[in-house]
Each structure stands twice: as C-alpha cells, then as structure tokens.
C-alpha cells in the first residue's frame, strides 16, 4: 500500500510538471493582458528543439537551452502579432498552435522519416540526490527540471508580488492607458511577459521530450498547454493557485493511468473528464465577476492607427 502511495505521488509530480511550468509562464502573459492560447505551440516547439539540441550535441542541457529558445521563438511571433501589431490574440494563438504542431511533425518526418525522433541523451533522473538517506531514492526518480520548477515557482511568487516589474505588469493588464501616462513603456512590458511565457513553455516542452522521455513524438503535448491556460484562468493569475490547480489536473491524470493498468472497471476517459467538469462548474459559480476585468485585447501603438 505504501509503495502504491509513493508511486502515485511520484506520478502526480511528474505529470503536473509541464502544466505547472507552462502555467507559471502563461500567468505572466495573462497578467500583462495578453491572452496566450499558443502555449501548446510553444511547448511542442520547445520539445522538438530540445530533442534536436540533444541529438546534435549529445548534451541534454544544451537540449534544454534549445528547447527554451524554441519556445521563445513562438512567443516572439505571438508578441509581434498581438502586442506590436495589434492583431487578434486568440486567433493568433490558435494559428500558432496549428503551425507549431504541423511544422514540428513535418520536420520530424522529413528529418527522421517517421513520427518519432531517434532516442537522444536525456535527463530523466537526478542521480546526485540518491545519496540522501531515506527519501533519496524517491527524489532521484524526478528529473532535474522538476527541481528547477520549484525554484522557478519561488522566483515567480517573488516577482509578481514584490518587484516593480511584476506590479507594473499587473497594472498593464488592467489599465494600459494609465501605465502609459505614468511614463512606462507598455509594449516593452507586454513583450517581456510574452517572451517569459515562451521561455517557460519551451522549458516545459523540453521536460516532455527529454525530461520525461528521451524522444520526440508527433503532437506529444496532447492538450497539456490548454490545461495550463485553463489552470491560469481558474487560478485567477495567482502563482500559488495556478500550481494547486495544475497539481489537481496531475492527480486526475495519474489516477487515470493507474486505472488503465489495474483491473478496475471504470473507463479512464471518464476520469479524465472530471477536471474539465470541475473547471466549468468553478467558472460558472465564480462570483467575483464584479471586479474590474483584465483587458485582454491589444493596446495599439499610435503609429499604427488609421
């Protein structure tokens, strides 16, 4: 029984890492008033670039850096369109998802001939920690990216509440005009927040491909980016709440996997729908509608007005 609980806990932590990292990134973007549906595309781009980096250099950490870069590229396109050029954020996000998913699959097939990349050097375990007594073996089963995630979470909590740039980002989301009047570059802040989102989503994509596995597959994100978007929405753009909701998603995902391998006669698909149903109910019962909403639409530069 003890073994099952530990296995379950590890499964929850492993499965919620991508949603948590992407969620933290997405939170910055939404706080600054840029709805970012392209999280999925950033993740898949990160996953593919991470495998490429690891494949060509043989060093998984170079892969992680490439993954971050892959996410930032998608983020840069998104911020160029929706922040700089006043485009339609949601449609840009959906388009980039489709583009990134299609492009990675296309390149993977063109380079390797199949929907899978060859296996590459990966960072699935943290061997150093196995020397710690009692819990060392458990801790060593998690990827180093998991520990990076904990660090990131603490940094994010600090940035959003305690630093000038975090507070300004929040203000931009509510009153861009006011922030501009105060002499702050609205667009620079928005660009930065979308790029942060791209970097974090790219990192979580790298976790999917070389932190959890050692290969890239076609559309391997399987809706995890959208889960992160939902987690941010339900968590009201607070880092702590977002992480808790991502952990709940991870719990149901782990439960569903456990049911699949056991002989319990519940359809795993039904278990997987639970978090979504809970999400819809939570949104429906949300009573804080009267608070001033975040402005999730572009704030146009004067030179582009006509």
């Amino acid at each position: 029984m003890n073994g099952i609980i530990v296995a379950m806990l590890i499964a929850i932590l492993r499965l919620s890492v991508p949603v948590i990292i992407t969620g933290l990134g997405n939170m910055f973007s939404v706080r600054a008033g840029v709805m970012n549906l392209s999280a999925e595309g950033m993740m898949i781009s990160g996953a593919f670039c991470a495998v490429l980096g690891s494949y060509f250099t043989g060093n998984p950490w170079v892969g992680v850096l490439c993954g971050i870069l892959g996410g930032v590229i998608v983020g840069a396109i998104h911020s160029l369109i929706s922040v700089e050029f006043g485009g339609i954020q949601n449609i840009s996000g959906l388009g980039l998802n489709m583009l990134a998913t299609g492009l990675t699959a296309f390149l993977c097939r063109s380079m390797f001939g199949t929907a899978f990349s060859p296996t590459v050097a990966s960072i699935q375990y943290t061997r150093i920690l196995s020397n710690i007594p009692v819990i060392g073996n458990v801790l060593a089963q998690l990827s180093p990216i998991f520990y990076i995630m904990i660090l990131l979470f603490l940094i994010c909590c600090f940035i959003v509440d305690k630093t000038v740039i975090g507070l300004r980002m929040n203000a931009v989301g509510f009153h861009p005009q006011m922030v501009e009047t105060a002499g702050i570059d609205v667009w620079k802040l928005k660009h930065i927040s979308v790029l942060i989102c791209g970097a974090l989503a790219g990192l979580s994509g790298a976790y999917l491909s070389i932190g959890q596995l050692n290969t890239f597959m076609d559309s391997m994100t399987m809706g995890k980016g959208m889960l992160a978007v939902i987690a941010v929405q339900m968590g009201k753009q607070k880092p702590q709440r977002t992480v808790i909701i991502a952990l709940i998603f991870g719990f149901f995902d782990a439960l569903q996997l456990r049911i699949q391998i056991s002989s319990i006669a519940i359809a795993p698909e039904l278990v997987q729908t639970i978090p979504y149903l809970v999400g819809i109910i939570a949104l429906a019962l949300d009573t804080s509608k009267n608070a001033a909403p975040r402005l999730l639409n572009p704030y146009l530069k004067n030179k582009y007005k006509f």
Binding site: M35, L37, I77, I81, S82, F85, G86, G87, I88, Q89, N90, I91, S92, L94, G95, L96, N97, M98, L99, A100, T101, G102, L103, A105, F106, L107, R109, S110, G223, M226, V229, I230, Q233, A267, E269, L270, Q272, T273, Y276, L277, G279, I280, L283, A284, D286, K289, Y304, F306
Partner: protein, 358 residues
C-alpha cells in the same frame, strides 16, 4: 487620414490584405519545401494534379469540401454577430454521434423521412452540446473561450468512451458504432468514378438560405448590426443577448450537421476520430471570407483541394501531408495579423494616389 480612406469608392485595402495573406503563405511554404530538398513548383504541380487532375479527383475534392464548408458556415454565422465560436469540434463530434444513433436505432422508416430525421437529430445534438457554454456566456458572462476549449476536450474523451463502451459495434477491432440502417444513408448523386453524396446539395442550399437570411431579412440585418457594434445595436433596441445565444446555438446546429453529413454520407457509421479537425478548418475559411456564405463555399473548396491534393503530393513529391496543417497554421496566424496587413495595404494604396503627406 481617416476621411481620406473613406473617400475611395473601392476599398482596395480590403481586397489587398487577403491577397497578401495568401501570397505570404505560399512563399513560406515554398521556402519550407525547398529546405527539405524538394522542388516547390513540382510539389504544387502534384498537389494540383491530385486535387483537380481528373474527374475522379475533382469529385473527391468536392466531397471532402462538404464537412469543411458546414464548419465554415458555422463559424461564419457566429462571427457575423461578433462572436467567435471555437467549440465547433466538440459540437461536430456530438452532432455526428446523434445522427449515427438516430440512423442506427430508429427503424422501419422510408429513406425520405429517415434521412431528414437523422440530420435533424444531428443538428439538435450539436445544438445541445453548445447549450451549456451559451447559457453560461449569456446569463453569467463566463468567457466563451476557455469553456469552449474545455468542452472540446470533454467531447473528445466522452466520444471515445461512448463509442468503445455503450454504443460499441460488433466489430471490436475498430472503435466505431454499427453501420446505420440503409434508409439513413445519404443517396449518391454519382457513383463512378468516385462517390458523391447529396451532401454537397445540402451545403449549397444552406449557404443560400444563410445568405438570404443575413442580407434580405430584418432579423439578419439586426444580427449583423450586433456584429458591427454591439453597444450601438443594444441602444438601438436590438435584443443583443438573444442574437448572441441564437447564433451560438445555430452555429452548434451547423457544426452538428457537418458531423452528420460526414457520418451518414462517407463512413455509414460513427468512427472514433472521423474528424481530422474539420472544426478548426472552419475558422480560417470563415475569416478569410469575412463571413460571406458564398465565400465560405469557395474557401472550403480550396481547403478540400488542399487536403486531397496533399495526399498525391506526399506520394509523388515526397512532401509529407503535415504540410497541410503548416499551411493552415500560417493562414490563421496571418489572418490574426490582418490589422497590420490592412494598415500596410492602406498605406500602399494611399501612397499611389499621392495622398500621403508627411
């Protein structure tokens, strides 16, 4: 500046920006094909040949365009009222399931009655699936976007469950229901060289009705007024909430029809995963066509050609079919940047007339 653009009788800027979009998309795709070591012109040649090269290929393209066109019309009607419906995929799946169940379990009807019953069942079930987000949006002001994304995810999971457990067919090898009754199958217009069902007639009729409704009726005018300026429409006494709810449900019904026609016409049963994302195909088409029903038909024809032609391109030129979703992604991304394209083409037009003064 603002007045000067209004003066020109033909809005060249409006015409130029879709042209820009398509040209840029072709350019990027060509670079991509070159990058993997194939010749772009050769690849396009095989794509066109695969889509229009023979009468049979043309028939294939036309029958592929039917569900895409319905999805496009579904997005179009909601976008004309200023609402963006991305819950199409889930509504389409449930519409298909509703039609399949009506075709499977209602027996003893002649085809003339059975087919409309199945289509209506599909429409109603698509509409019902759109009901919850609609109520939440109109009554409680919950954002449509996130709810629709969640509803899409739920639909995919639920459909997999429903098709593999309660409504599973006798053949356990495939996740599908049993075939529908013969009386529920859509009759063929042509059977050789390739099959073409009456689905294409239904979609053209739907587009005509929609055009007539939008352009020739008072209600259609009020709907467009909501889309142009929601606040102004509300102050003019138009019941904007009713129109919002109405177009969302109508959009769900059209998406359901897309699924039904595909299930009853192409597969004769409900397959898990019969839709390769038809719901998402509808979005770029409707936006490129600016919500015009006939524009949607043209767009759907081109997208059908893209899907059919890419198969030939993969076999003959070695460019994998994933290029389709790359092209679609580029198109959607560029459509989202339409504002800046319109701005650029506006500048271009004005510069030619020598009206721009620094």
């Amino acid at each position: 500046m603002k007045n000067k653009t209004k003066k020109s009788p033909i809005d060249w800027a409006k015409i130029l920006s879709p042209v820009f979009i398509i040209l840029i998309a072709i350019l990027i795709t060509s670079i991509l094909i070159l990058a993997i070591g194939c010749h772009p012109l050769e690849a396009y040649h095989y794509m066109l040949l695969g889509a229009f090269g023979s009468f049979g290929a043309l028939i294939n393209t036309i029958s592929k365009m039917v569900p895409i066109a319905f999805a496009g019309l579904a997005v179009a009607i909601s976008s004309r009222a200023g609402i963006f419906n991305i819950g199409l995929e889930g509504q389409l799946l449930f519409g298909g399931l509703g039609a399949a169940l009506a075709g499977l379990y209602i027996t003893g009807l002649p085809a003339l009655i059975h087919i409309p019953v199945c289509l209506v069942a599909g429409m109603i079930s698509g509409m019902l699936y759109a009901l919850l987000p609609t109520i939440l949006y109109v009554k409680k002001g919950v954002g449509l976007l996130v709810v629709h994304i969640m509803m899409n995810s739920i639909a995919k999971l639920l459909i997999t469950y429903l098709v593999s457990v309660p409504f599973a067919g006798d053949n356990k090898m495939i996740a599908a229901t049993n075939p529908v009754q013969d009386s529920a199958r859509l009759p063929y217009l042509l059977t050789s060289p390739n099959k073409l069902t009456i689905g294409i007639l239904i979609v053209i009729t739907t587009a005509c009705i929609m055009w007539f409704y939008l352009n020739k009726t008072t209600s259609g005018y009020e709907l467009r007024a909501c889309g142009d300026n929601m606040e102004a429409a509300r102050f003019a006494g138009i019941k904007t909430k009713w129109y919002q709810a109405g177009v969302l449900l109508a959009s769900g019904a059209l998406a359901g029809l897309a699924g039904s026609v595909e299930v009853l016409g192409t597969y004769d049963r409900f397959y898990d995963g019969f839709s390769p994302g038809f719901g998402f195909d509808g979005i770029p088409i409707a936006m490129l066509a600016n919500g015009n029903p006939f524009g949607v038909l043209v767009g759907a024809f081109l997208f059908g050609a893209l899907r059919i032609g890419s198969l030939n391109m993969q076999i003959k030129a070695g460019v994998s079919t994933e290029i389709v979703s790359v092209i679609q992604g580029i198109l959607i991304t560029l459509i989202s940047a339409q504002y800046i394209l319109r701005f650029a083409s506006n500048k271009l037009v004005n510069k030619q007339k020598g009206e721009v003064t620094q």
